[in-house]
């Protein structure tokens, strides 16, 4: 959904509650950290609390391009994909079933690092249901992984001694059993 920068000028929407009704649906324009400009449908943009607050709180005109410096363009593409689908399915009868099918497809090819990046974005943009979903996906992925894998994924340094680690394993051997063998 990326729009070339020169189309910015062609956005002629009125903003705010006093705006006149236009034929074209309202659009909100944002610029990601890597310089790309995106045009979002208003209903999708409003799913993101951060964007909603930015425009609503001070009654900022939709002509303003909101900077999303902490978001990369590929991340925003994914967020838009999810939120658009969510909004589309929201009032349908089979909401849960169809959402689940979409969710499974959505994460299918994603690497754990990708999921972590998206969780950061979900947190920054304040999209509760997307954050819930991504965090659950990460949790499901690391549930049966060993300690070393998790350190590597989260970039956490090991500050336990070898003895301390062995002692912890001896105290609760059951917690270190039956882990995933295929790790990478």
């Amino acid at each position: 959904m990326s729009t070339p920068a020169e189309n910015e000028a062609s956005i002629k929407q009125e903003s705010g509650p006093s705006g006149t009704v236009q034929d074209k649906p309202k659009k909100i324009v944002v610029r990601t950290g890597d310089g790309e400009v995106f045009e979002l449908k208003e209903e999708v943009a409003m799913e993101m609390e951060t964007i909603k607050t930015f425009f609503m709180e001070d009654n900022i005109s939709y002509e303003t391009v909101m900077p999303l410096t902490n978001v990369d363009s590929w991340e925003l593409v994914k967020v838009i994909e999810y939120c658009s689908k969510y909004v589309e399915l929201k009032n349908k009868e089979n909401f849960h079933k169809e959402l689940k099918a979409f969710q499974d497809e959505f994460v299918k090819s994603m690497s754990p690092k990708t999921l972590l990046s998206l969780s950061n974005v979900a947190n920054y943009l304040e999209i509760k249901y997307f954050l819930d979903f991504i965090c659950q996906a990460i949790a499901d992925h690391i549930k049966s992984k060993d300690v070393e894998y998790v350190r590597e994924l989260f970039g956490v340094e090991n500050d336990f001694t070898e003895e301390e680690y062995e002692m912890a394993k001896t105290e609760a051997p059951w917690a270190h059993e039956n882990l995933d063998k295929d790790l990478y």
Binding site: L116, S119, I142, K143, R151, F154, K169, A175
Partner: protein
């Protein structure tokens, strides 16, 4: 697409780490305490434990624990504790701490209470090491999910007289404060001998996690003859309840663990005097946060629930006949065999009943759907075991110490 390097500083992302970790099962979290010192401190923090508990509750509401004991002496693990969730199709056996499981052929465990993931066990047994063959007692606080337990220090002894060795002391357990993770245990015992008026002396003592020792609650239970049916006792909503009788009048003794105050509550008039052949099972249980018991009358079981009367300063209690249990005979697989119900728990709208099997020794657990007034599920329990108790349970990381 390039995944941006995730910040390795937990300080930037702690909320995010909490969002992920709080969705993990306890086994994973126990393991991940070894990821780093920071993660260890986070997982052990009361803030995280509370958030995690909420997630677990949402996923697995209406969990309960069942306790039973094998009647055969040849079993190596005679004591059985199982976990059951409302939607589960089978029971999950849990491993009791070894010292609790160790049996001298007559050990009986009473579950004093369960709260916030902690279970208070009260094993009582006679030991050959003890020349008088008087019983030995242990009070154990156990977290089945983290598999940790602790044995409380021995309770205070009676001063100037001996404690009774005939009756099991009453034990209650409550979790007081979410933030401070404070729990409290109460123990009520009586003297071996009574005075000229037939009255026994009672010793009431409490143990709190923060004080880490037993403290006597003076002038709590005045001398008397309460004839507690201690096996019937339960802790519900911070109150220890026990069936008692004085001079052939039956009532419910209650001890509020928070206020450390005693209240005696009358039984419904029909059942307050002996003999009462209609009074079934002699067992109190928890039903929707209140004390309840079951009666059998003209082919029907009636559930009586104790409700606090509103608009009064002093707590007065009324018993109301809440539901009539029908159709027990129609439990699939039961047919027309005689049903002997020991009601044990009310959770998630269902009543949990132990039903004695007619043919081979053992019991079935039946969950009875109160709304639809018919049995919902039947679970076959281990043959040769007698099941005695069902308690509320929720999984948590709360520490036993």
């Amino acid at each position: 697409m390039e995944a941006r390097q995730v910040s390795s500083s937990l300080a930037d992302n702690q909320d995010l780490v909490i969002e992920v970790l709080s969705r993990l099962p306890i086994k994973s979290l126990v393991r991940f305490m070894s990821v780093s010192q920071e993660w260890s401190a986070l997982i052990k923090s009361s803030r995280f434990i509370a958030i995690h508990q909420k997630h677990l509750q949402r996923l697995n509401p209406n969990l309960c624990l069942l306790y039973g004991r094998s009647v055969r002496h040849t079993y190596t693990k005679p004591h059985k504790i199982s976990l059951l969730g409302k939607e589960d199709t089978h029971l999950v056996a849990l491993d009791l701490p070894e010292r609790v499981q160790q049996d001298s052929n007559d050990k009986l465990i009473h579950i004093a209470g369960s709260s916030h993931g902690l279970v208070c066990l009260h094993p009582l047994y006679t030991s050959k090491n003890n020349p008088l063959y008087t019983w030995e007692e242990e009070i154990v606080v156990w977290n089945p999910a983290t598999r940790k337990h602790r044995c409380l220090p021995p309770p205070l002894a009676f001063k100037g007289e001996k404690e009774s060795t005939g009756d099991r002391p009453l034990l209650g357990f409550v979790f007081i404060n979410d933030d401070a993770a404070e729990y409290k245990v109460v123990r009520i015992s009586h003297s071996m001998d009574h005075d000229a008026d037939g009255k026994f002396t009672y010793l009431t003592q409490v143990f709190t996690r923060s004080e880490n020792s037993w403290r006597e609650v003076k002038s709590c239970v005045p001398p008397g003859d309460y004839d507690f049916e201690s096996h019937s006792s339960i802790t519900s909503n911070g109150v220890l309840y026990c069936l008692a009788s004085t001079k052939s009048v039956r009532y419910v003794f209650s001890f509020n663990l928070q206020d450390e105050v005693v209240h005696n509550m009358p039984m419904p008039p029909r059942y307050s005097h002996f003999p009462s052949h209609e009074f079934y099972g002699h067992q109190l249980f928890t039903w929707e946060n209140s004390a309840a018991f079951l009666t059998y009358d003209e082919g029907q079981y009636v559930l009586w629930v104790m409700k606090k009367a509103s608009g009064t300063q002093m707590p007065t209690w009324n018993w109301t006949a809440q539901i009539t249990i029908k159709n027990l005979i129609q439990i699939p697989g039961v047919g027309s065999r005689q049903v002997e119900a020991f009601p044990l728990w009310g959770g998630g709208g269902d009543l949990y009943l132990f039903v004695k099997r007619h043919v081979k020794a053992g019991q079935d657990l039946v969950t009875y759907d109160r709304a639809k007034t018919k049995p919902r599920k039947l679970f076959e329990l281990a043959t040769g075991s007698i099941y005695r108790q069902v308690v509320d349970y929720m999984q948590s990381l709360v520490s036993v110490f």
